[in-house]
């Protein structure tokens, strides 16, 4: 048997730990969290078993039934049935079940068994089951099911040994194929009951701690208060923890830029290195700590199991604005980046709810906008305490996130009004057990996000910054020029051209110009402004840029720009994902069009109100 390859597929109910198992088997770093529907795609990995056999492992989205009701469940159905394009049916199905919740999960095991393929049952989360005093007669369960059963603890390194040994051993014999009809479906529940009675004892149905926590977390009054407090704390922390580190990084780059410049002969190359690389890239890199602080909170919340509770509390509100409680998690992920957020909508069953969520997801302030916000807030909003405890800058940041959310509610509400199909939408959402976030999972998540940021920085952002430097420097001014050199450069001409469109909302030509690279990657707006002002001789590095902005344009323009970034059409990658996920250019056009209009109108109002007030 050795030297051959074996294809195994991990299937099971949502949130039973398939991806954690996958990561543990293959050494992968796929995202895991504590809510149903983290995995929405099929993921493939491989590892070599002790026998020398190569194992291909497929991680599939969780599903309650092979009778799929959402796009992610359909993938699992197609792969198991061998209908997935370009994917042979797996040699072995590893059905993963949460040992603390067998009454629900065993039904799916029986449903998969009827496909008549070789199968192994992995009883996962055995540590939690033992803690709760759940006892399972594994030998008897295996005998009654007619398939090998192994115990696993996917979050522990040695927790998958039994599974590896089992899949590496002799191939289990497949059960006969059985038809799928309504009568046999009802029968599955009876079989589960018999299995449970014969093999499982549970002291109590639920975890006592969950019940106690939910009494507070889901309380109509305290629950909402806790949710508001959690959200507010996140944004305060981004400022009070992240900002000092950002300043330190910016100072470090300033210092490096000055020293490197001293080594180089003056000329265009020196200008590229100091103004472009250190000024532009250094400024953006400085915002990494803030992004990481935001992610510590998002990842911790995802791991804890709190998010589905928040979705529960907000469902009614979300429905009133044309969304669903299920939109909450994809929308919260969009605070990191709209792309995983939009992909996460695959777990939304209703196609109308899904489309509405996709269209408003980019209004959630993604982490790429954080550098822009942080820069402008740092330059224009005084850092002072309000009511003794709150930082004014943190409050403005919170307000910017809030207007994104309000904008999304408004857009959702309008879509709900114009939607013709008013039939019922389903919620049907499982609330998982609470779990203490694992340092390892949070660290992996942070590392992955940090690397994505650094890769963007050294890829697209660096390239754009060099281009920005180039067009800001060339061509040089004609002899006898009276204006600053940059006014005669390509950047000067382009910026002034764009300014015709953006002058009514208070943007000068430098800002107008920075909107072009921002369309490729939001953070580049900061690098672009840093480069343009540095080439213009106004500023160097992070702290200097804030100062240059404060000198060069009025508060009204700054506020208008902040509002613009809250609503403006998202980056190209997001539009590409909308195209892929909805398979429609029309939705891309709608998305771009409404956001442009919304941003323009909101910035126009902001600018004129601010001018009028000052």
């Amino acid at each position: 048997m050795s030297a051959s390859t074996l294809r195994i597929a991990l299937v099971g109910n949502p949130n039973c730990g398939k991806t954690a198992l996958f990561n543990q088997l293959t050494g992968g770093r796929q995202k895991v969290a504590n809510y149903a529907g983290v995995t929405v795609e099929r993921k493939e990995g491989r590892f070599t078993a002790p026998s020398g056999r190569l194992l291909h492992v497929l991680d599939l989205p969780g599903t309650y039934s092979l009778d799929a009701t959402s796009p992610d469940e359909q993938i699992t159905h197609d792969v198991c049935a061998g209908n997935y394009p370009g994917e042979p049916a797996p040699d072995l199905i590893v059905c993963v079940a949460d040992a603390t919740n067998l009454r629900l999960h065993l039904r799916f095991v029986l449903e998969v068994k009827r496909l008549g393929r070789p199968m192994v049952l992995s009883l996962n989360m055995m540590d939690a089951a033992r803690r709760r005093g759940v006892t399972i007669d594994v030998a008897e369960l295996s005998r009654r099911l007619g398939m090998p059963v192994v115990e696993t603890v996917a979050v522990r390194r040695d927790g998958v040994k039994a599974l590896i040994e089992r899949v590496d051993g002799a191939m289990p014999v497949a059960a006969p194929v059985q038809p799928d009809d309504a009568a046999s479906r009802a029968d599955l529940h009876a079989q589960v009951r018999a299995l449970m009675a014969a093999t499982v004892t549970m002291p109590r149905a639920t975890d006592a701690l969950d019940d106690a926590l939910d009494r507070w977390a889901l309380h109509p009054v305290f629950g909402l208060a806790i949710l508001a407090l959690v959200m507010f704390l996140v944004f305060q922390a981004v400022y009070s923890v992240g900002k000092p580190m950002t300043d330190a990084i910016a100072d470090g780059f300033d210092w490096m830029g000055t020293h490197v410049a001293a080594w180089m002969p003056p000329g265009p190359l020196q200008s590229l290195v100091t103004d472009g690389i250190f000024g532009g890239i250094g400024t953006v890199l400085g915002f990494l700590p803030e992004i990481l602080v935001l992610f510590v909170f998002i990842l911790t919340l995802e791991e804890s199991g709190y998010l589905p509770r928040a979705a529960f509390l907000l469902d009614r509100l979300m429905v009133s604005v044309g969304l669903t409680g299920r939109s909450f998690i994809p929308l919260l992920s969009s605070f990191a980046c709209a792309i995983p957020g939009i992909m996460g909508t695959r777990s939304i069953t209703d196609p109308r709810d899904r489309l509405a969520t996709i269209l408003v997801a980019p209004l959630m302030t993604c982490s790429a906008r954080l550098p822009v916000y942080a820069l402008l807030i740092g330059a224009f909003i005084p850092s002072r305490r309000v009511l003794g405890v709150f930082n004014l800058q943190g409050m403005v940041l919170f307000a910017l996130y809030a207007i994104g959310i309000l904008g999304a509610m408004l857009v959702g509400w309008v879509m709900k009004r114009i939607r013709r199909d008013k039939s019922e939408h389903a919620l049907l959402m499982e609330l998982p057990s609470y779990r203490l976030p694992k340092l390892r999972d949070v660290s992996i998540g942070l590392y992955e996000r940090g690397m994505i940021f650094v890769k963007r920085l050294t890829g697209v952002i660096l390239a754009l910054t060099v281009i920005m430097w180039f067009i800001s420097t060339f061509p040089g001014p004609p002899p006898g020029a009276t204006e600053p050199a940059i006014e005669y450069s390509i950047a000067g001409y382009l910026g002034r051209g764009l300014q015709h469109i953006f002058a009514p909302i208070g943007f000068n030509w430098q800002i107008s110009l920075s909107l072009i690279p921002a369309f490729a990657a939001r953070e580049t707006a900061v690098a672009a402004l840093a480069t343009v002002y540095a080439v213009g001789g106004d500023a160097v590095g992070g702290a200097g840029l804030g100062h240059a902005l404060a000198v060069n344009f009025p508060l009204a323009s700054a506020l208008s720009l902040l509002v613009w970034f809250a609503f403006a059409p998202q980056c190209m990658s997001t539009l590409a994902v909308i195209r892929r996920e909805t398979d429609s250019w029309r939705n891309v056009a709608i998305s771009f069009g409404y956001m442009f209009a919304l941003a323009y109108v909101a910035s126009f109002i902001t600018y004129h109100v601010a001018v009028w007030l000052s």
């Binding site: 889901l218 469902d315 019922e424 389903a426």
Partner: protein
Amino acid sequence: MRLSDLPKGSPAVVDRVDDAHADDVIAQRLRDLGFVAGEPVRLVACGPMGADPLLIQIGSTRFALRRSEAARVTVCMQEAA
């Protein structure tokens, strides 16, 4: 009585799930999730706005259901066990 009318905390047993219309996928999914005759259920919590959605405990699982979804499930109240 309907699951949506169940008082908070009182134990009940599922009687049946009715299709609200022909080919009702929501009803089918409810049955798949274990809402079948004889299964004990309990209303754990209600949402803060309009007491919607409902948090239903069935077996070891807690599901959030909207009122309209829960209305498909007929239950019989049990004397406190």
